[in-house]
Symmetry: C2
Amino acid sequence: MSSSKTLRKLQVVSPVPADIDIANSVEPFHISEIAKELNLSSNHYDLYGKYKAKVLLSVLDELQGSGDGYYVVVGGITPTPLGEGKSTTTVGLCQALGAFLDKKVVTCLRQPSQGPTFGIKGGAAGGGYSQVIPMDEFNLHLTGDIHAITAANNLLAAAIDTRIFHEATQSDKGLLNRLCPPNKEGKRSFANIMFRRLKMLGISKNNPDDLTPEEVKKFVRLDINPDSITWRRVMDVNDRFLRKITIGQGPEEKGMVRETGFDISVASEIMAVLALTTSLSDMRERLGKMVIGNSKAGDPIIADDLGVGGALTVLMKDAIDPTLMQTLEGTPVLVHAGPFANIAHGNSSIVADKIALKLVGPGGFVVTEAGFGADIGTEKFMNIKCRYSGLTPQCAVIVATIRALKMHGGGPEVVAGKPLDHAYLSENVTLVEAGCVNLARHISNTKAYGVNVVVAVNMFSTDTEAELNAVRNAALTAGAFDAVVCTHHAHGGKGAVDLGIAVQRACENVTQPLRFLYPLDISIKDKIDAIARSYGASGVELLDSFAEKQIEMYTRQGFSSLPICMAKTQYSFSHIPSEKGAPVGFVLPVRDVRASIGAGFIYPLVGTMSTMPGLPTRPCFFEIDVDTTTGRVLGLS
Amino acid sequence: MSSSKTLRKLQVVSPVPADIDIANSVEPFHISEIAKELNLSSNHYDLYGKYKAKVLLSVLDELQGSGDGYYVVVGGITPTPLGEGKSTTTVGLCQALGAFLDKKVVTCLRQPSQGPTFGIKGGAAGGGYSQVIPMDEFNLHLTGDIHAITAANNLLAAAIDTRIFHEATQSDKGLLNRLCPPNKEGKRSFANIMFRRLKMLGISKNNPDDLTPEEVKKFVRLDINPDSITWRRVMDVNDRFLRKITIGQGPEEKGMVRETGFDISVASEIMAVLALTTSLSDMRERLGKMVIGNSKAGDPIIADDLGVGGALTVLMKDAIDPTLMQTLEGTPVLVHAGPFANIAHGNSSIVADKIALKLVGPGGFVVTEAGFGADIGTEKFMNIKCRYSGLTPQCAVIVATIRALKMHGGGPEVVAGKPLDHAYLSENVTLVEAGCVNLARHISNTKAYGVNVVVAVNMFSTDTEAELNAVRNAALTAGAFDAVVCTHHAHGGKGAVDLGIAVQRACENVTQPLRFLYPLDISIKDKIDAIARSYGASGVELLDSFAEKQIEMYTRQGFSSLPICMAKTQYSFSHIPSEKGAPVGFVLPVRDVRASIGAGFIYPLVGTMSTMPGLPTRPCFFEIDVDTTTGRVLGLS
């Protein structure tokens, strides 16, 4: 047992009770005690109730001189639709490191979207004896970051349509009069934010009255092409009827109708900005330069052109601080940002990882999870997140299950909500061995970044010794530093002690520098090609001239040096979800290329990505209620 | 000076600086110090940062046996579009009572909508030397209550459309199979929440398999009439293009398009529920019985029919706790709920007032503001809020300005953003005297509830002694207990000491019991009539057969005993904003009658009410930014 004062010995029960029952069986420590163990003084965090605190970014300034801990990323093999327990393994590994191996450790997790909590998916706090608590606070509202994103995203959306409306109904002079109204002395002036647009236009005048009529026109008319608008509204609710809507049908809007739609809030570019930003001033700049569409002349229009970049930053100024929580065994967790893993990069925030690395210090561990399979999550972690953060991971964990490996070896389809086929419930070493081609490719891809790869086999009660040995052998053959069976779901940190030891050894024995998959200064097409080849593709096909034109446009607009964020299914290395194992030789079709300029990446679409989930006939919410005498949440899963 | 340890002596500067500059010139006390002065122990509140705390409802149980303080409501005369300083007077009065008259005092304020903060209006934290601080935290996010309302409101909206979708595409049996899926043993069961609907249908079976085909149909088919749906989506953003929209245009939604729209979040019925609820269990019931529309047979469909009442309560469970803040002079403030003053009742929450009354105890003061003019705000405070709370006010303050009285006396139109006419800037006793008819009617209407009325003249630098005396005389003649000139905007609490003394005397000298304007057991029409007559109307006209039919429907559905919440302009006693003074003999036209069944009132529409504001050509947000070195918010007004 560790020397820390906030560790909690779990009383493990078998069979494993429901997640909510385990979570409720434990009284969390006051979060100030968790903070104290991290040597955070009270001026470095703000409490949000008893079990959550926002850690202030200012702590980075104070710890600037101190060293970083080891940096571990958790990815997974290509999953079944049931998921292979990446979050649970991330939490379990940290419980092992902190509560059994006496290490300083911080778990860095994404904040889950609230919408799916009421739909099919349920919560995202881990599972069994490896969870973040309190589970209801983790899954709902948290400290309001996603709500802030929703507010900021939609303020920008309202600013776009209102600006088009006002430009359509006013003369150049009228617009200038309203944009730069005279003060009591009759003098006009530019708002500070307007100098950003003036500078971009090459106008260096300080007095609105000095503008030539031509300059007035350029300044006041953003002349947004409505068909080019990529900025959509968002809501943190599974509301499929908002996927495609027509707005502006009120009589006061004078027939300025337009088709658009809502995404779920975590799909907002502002979420990606939050995840990739490195400081408040960096966030201010990223929010201001988000591109919402083009002018009719084809120039990008940014949030600062609309005068709203500062207001967006004000709405987001508290969201930039990560939220401190705890695991079931009392180790610290930083929850921060949860960008989509397809149209965005699916990793928690850079600032949380940076703070965590300083807090654990040399010899300590920061374990962060990357969304989706390693082909997507870990790849983006390396090529996008680490590129922007400048941080270097030492170890990548790849989570595998016997179930998923059997599927890759040719087992029957796994469908959520339907009973598992017999093949998955009884020993079948042949299927497992065949499926290890998927694991092997993830290992070699990940190893290529220069990190040591540790395979974590998340064990189920139906797994056999022979099956587990097969995975271990295959992993070592494929170049893994180690491969370990773990039972953290059933046993908490105790079940991941071997994994913790392997991760520690992996971190201590790095021999290579971090290498990216592609340099930034090659063409967009070449970067897409490099990533496609890591999937096993022989090349990339731009499906129609539209994708080609988009690449040309972004290149012309000066955005070609951004990293690439592939929007591809997580259910196969290829673009076809049913192609399991390690497909080769296919041509990856790209049907569209889009960009999140503020966040800082180009995202090619391989297939159709849903950015707004729906509700089933019987959503989770039927079970969710409050015990009105205790105030306790019921039915969350 | 009071004996309290958290009082702050203001260094008053003349002329009065900008609100944000005054707010920023003061370092707030840590909110735990404010809580301590109220004898709140740390288990009675949760910190949200350093300057905000949620006071837990459990404090009511503990203080059940102790007595209440005096209860003071602040209303106003019929205002100009510039507002007459009701919030500022509310805060100033409390600063006087707490910091100069040594009284225990709590100010109860509404949480402002975030949308308008970025539009035209700016913030709502009071003004000058009578403000709630920190002003940016008061105006933005606060502790997330409005975000919770947005989430809950929109979850219900998504549940409605999705349910219609699933009912349209599935058989009765298919729906039952999905609503009550078999468990691993193949046994079906009802979710707890389903028993609410079963009970309403008169079905007392416990096993889904025991339902007759007829019962299955009744149970699984809500058969919602899409044209009857009154539940709209909400967003806390001024987004005029969402006022009227068409949803469901995605191909997956199979052509199930529908016209609907968004309101601003504070217009959600859930906000009204929050403001009127008295406990967690009461909120659970109110949220569950919110009517979203009718079945095709004309029966009301409620949130619990959709299975979502419990989930809504879970989303709102922290929002039920009021937020503690402080004034510039260090007196405590509870901020909680901010329902629209037209389609809802425009008063802060019952639970905040209840907690405050216990915290100040006998001899202490709770001052709460009622939105709009007293004809609407104070009327609804008495007949809706006090009716549900069972609380009895002793004193009603009516805020008046020389400016507004001159307008009522026949002065030229006052338009926001345009310079004031000379009549308002120089002495004109005749105009003031003529305008006092408006004040007089507000006084006699308010007095009729059995409270003592104190008139607070919010003084401007251009007001003259003769004008102020005219108001004082008119107020006393009209039956006011007292009438006092105050300068709290320029001087803080010191400028409202006379008002504080008058309010104290008024509270100590109540001679009558609380009397409502109408009983609940008369017809809807008669209740509307009673309120209309208090406006000076000779009667009510239902504009078309639709309003009449709505009244019939609500009566048939069993909702006729609810109180009435008039949706009328605040700019006149009548329905015509330009009719100033005290109009009489008009017939009040009602064009529609709607209901918020969960919140608990019927609301007749007198004229058109906008429930979604827009943004001007140059919204406030152009000025708003963050100083990225200090983290301080700039440009909020």
